[in-house]
């Protein structure tokens, strides 16, 4: 925290790059560094290619995958689009006129829901599963929803608003039984919760760098070898990434992503314990405010995300009455709208509670002092707003 700056509690929106990440990126920008185009065959290109492939191994190691199974993208939104649109359109091309069906959940990120809505316009049928009141999808719901025409199941690992973790292993098991590929949006869980694709029955998995102290503008899509041929690219051009994602690779961002993942691989368990302890401390403080309600399952969650509704307090007023804190009322990608959170509505929260929530998200540089300051500030502002309410 910089002196006088608001306490940053919005790591689920984005995180500052780790200084070690920034240093590695800086080595890949100028004439004296590794600035070449990895597709070039001269020495500059070879050096850049080596850095890119090293980073590919670093990212793959974080999720228990092989380096060759990763496709670089611009972030999780593009990864999700490539996975969903690419799979559904490839299925359409392979069997013209055959009905196509996708299974997903109402609580997914817009980067999953919007491609699904796009596919509905293209004639695809989509089932949107409703989670239980704690935000969890029962794997049996997925099993029941899969039909003979299902071409993809897309379920996120950690929810971006409430932080709950879905049982991806069990969901993937049902998908494998039915021969349906499973896509997982892991933007909020990578580097924070265990992901082991050597063991998990997952076919496609979306990653982004900027949620794990890497740079913005770079991500990856894990594609299992069995599914590679069943994915249609969205971007055409130079044929990079074995034709799945054309475009000159952003070496500095990819290198930064690699270092960020390596730091997570080395320190994930210790960091997760530390951040979880901070989250528990935060809830112990906030939970004592009358009318505070935790959103999402109390235990099955990523360490850093806490979503709390404060009965009788309007969320936007609460947020704006806390100038000493930087946090969100919900997804940062959705926080400009005047609508209550669709995620909380899907959990069955009434509109008043859904629009009275704050998302606190902690990360690598969060401290106990910041958590204590947050509790004190929220208590003050909730009290002020309740005092003026009818």
């Amino acid at each position: 925290m910089t002196d006088g700056a608001p306490v940053y509690l919005d790591y689920a929106a984005t995180s500052p790059a780790d200084p070690r990440v920034a240093a590695a990126m800086a080595e890949c920008l100028t004439q004296s560094g590794v600035f070449g185009n990895p597709a070039s065959h001269h020495q500059y290109g070879r050096l850049a290619r080596a850095r890119v492939e090293h980073a590919r191994g670093q990212v793959a190691a974080l999720i228990g995958a092989a380096a060759s199974q990763l496709v670089w993208t611009s972030g999780a939104t593009e990864s999700n689009n490539l996975a969903i649109l690419g799979t559904a359109r490839a299925a359409a091309a392979a069997a013209t006129g055959k009905p196509r069906h996708i299974v997903t959940a109402r609580t997914e990120h817009k980067a999953v829901l919007d491609p699904c809505r796009r596919l509905e316009q293209e004639g695809c049928r989509v089932t949107y599963l409703t989670p239980d009141s704690q935000g969890l999808i029962d794997p049996a719901q997925v099993r029941a929803a899969i039909g003979t025409d299902t071409v993809l199941v897309s379920i996120m690992h950690a929810n971006n608003e409430i932080g709950v973790l879905q049982d991806i292993e069990a969901i993937g098991g049902y998908c494998r039984q039915r021969g349906v590929p499973l896509h997982v949006d892991a933007a909020q869980s990578a580097g924070k919760a265990e992901i082991d694709l050597a063991r998990w029955p997952v076919d496609l998995l979306s990653l982004t760098a900027h949620k794990l102290c890497g740079p913005k503008g770079v991500g990856a899509l894990y594609v299992s070898p069995q599914r590679r041929a069943q994915l249609q690219p969205l971007i055409f051009g130079g044929g990079q990434e074995r034709g799945l994602r054309s475009g000159t690779l952003a070496v500095h961002q990819i290198v930064g992503f690699g270092v960020a993942c390596e730091l997570c691989t080395q320190g994930r368990l210790a960091e997760a314990q530390r951040i979880e302890a901070l989250r528990v401390r935060l809830w112990q403080g906030l939970g004592r405010i009358e009318g505070a309600l935790l959103n999402g399952h109390p235990a099955r969650r990523v360490p850093g995300i806490l979503n709390v509704s404060f009965r009788g307090v309007e969320g936007e007023s609460l947020l704006l009455g806390l100038p000493e804190l930087a946090l969100s009322t919900g997804s940062a990608c959705n926080s400009d709208t005047d609508e209550p959170s669709y995620v909380l509505r899907a959990l069955g929260r009434d509109t008043e509670l859904a629009q009275s929530s704050l998302r606190f998200s902690l990360g690598r540089f969060s401290t106990e002092d910041e958590v204590d300051l947050a509790v004190s500030a929220v208590r003050r502002e909730v009290g002020r707003l309740r005092a003026v309410a009818p």
């Binding site: 309007e314 009455g321 309410a389």
Partner: protein
Amino acid sequence: MSVDLLEPQIRELFTTLDHAGELDPAEGASVATGEAGREELGTRVRIALRIADGRVQAVRYRAYGCPHTLATCEWLARTLEGRRPDALEIGNPLDWARQLDVPAAKLGRLLVVEDALQAALTRS
């Protein structure tokens, strides 16, 4: 969005809210109260006017809603005090929005404030 991004006038009103509260009927000649909106729809406002000697002597409100709603209530309270209730030229929510730089998306909320005020004036 941060409070720093609000227009300065809205920010000052929202952070002050000096006129939030109730009016004690025993203190004045008459207190007229109007109410509108519902919490589950995002906005609820109650406005009380104390009228004495043909003038609005005091205004108090209670409000649940967004910062623009609360700020508008505070601004109206400051504007109304001291005026004659039969000669109020308070304009309408469009005028208020223009004066306070309230975004168009929030106009519906100001309509609730207007409904509460009109209800109070009708009873005055």
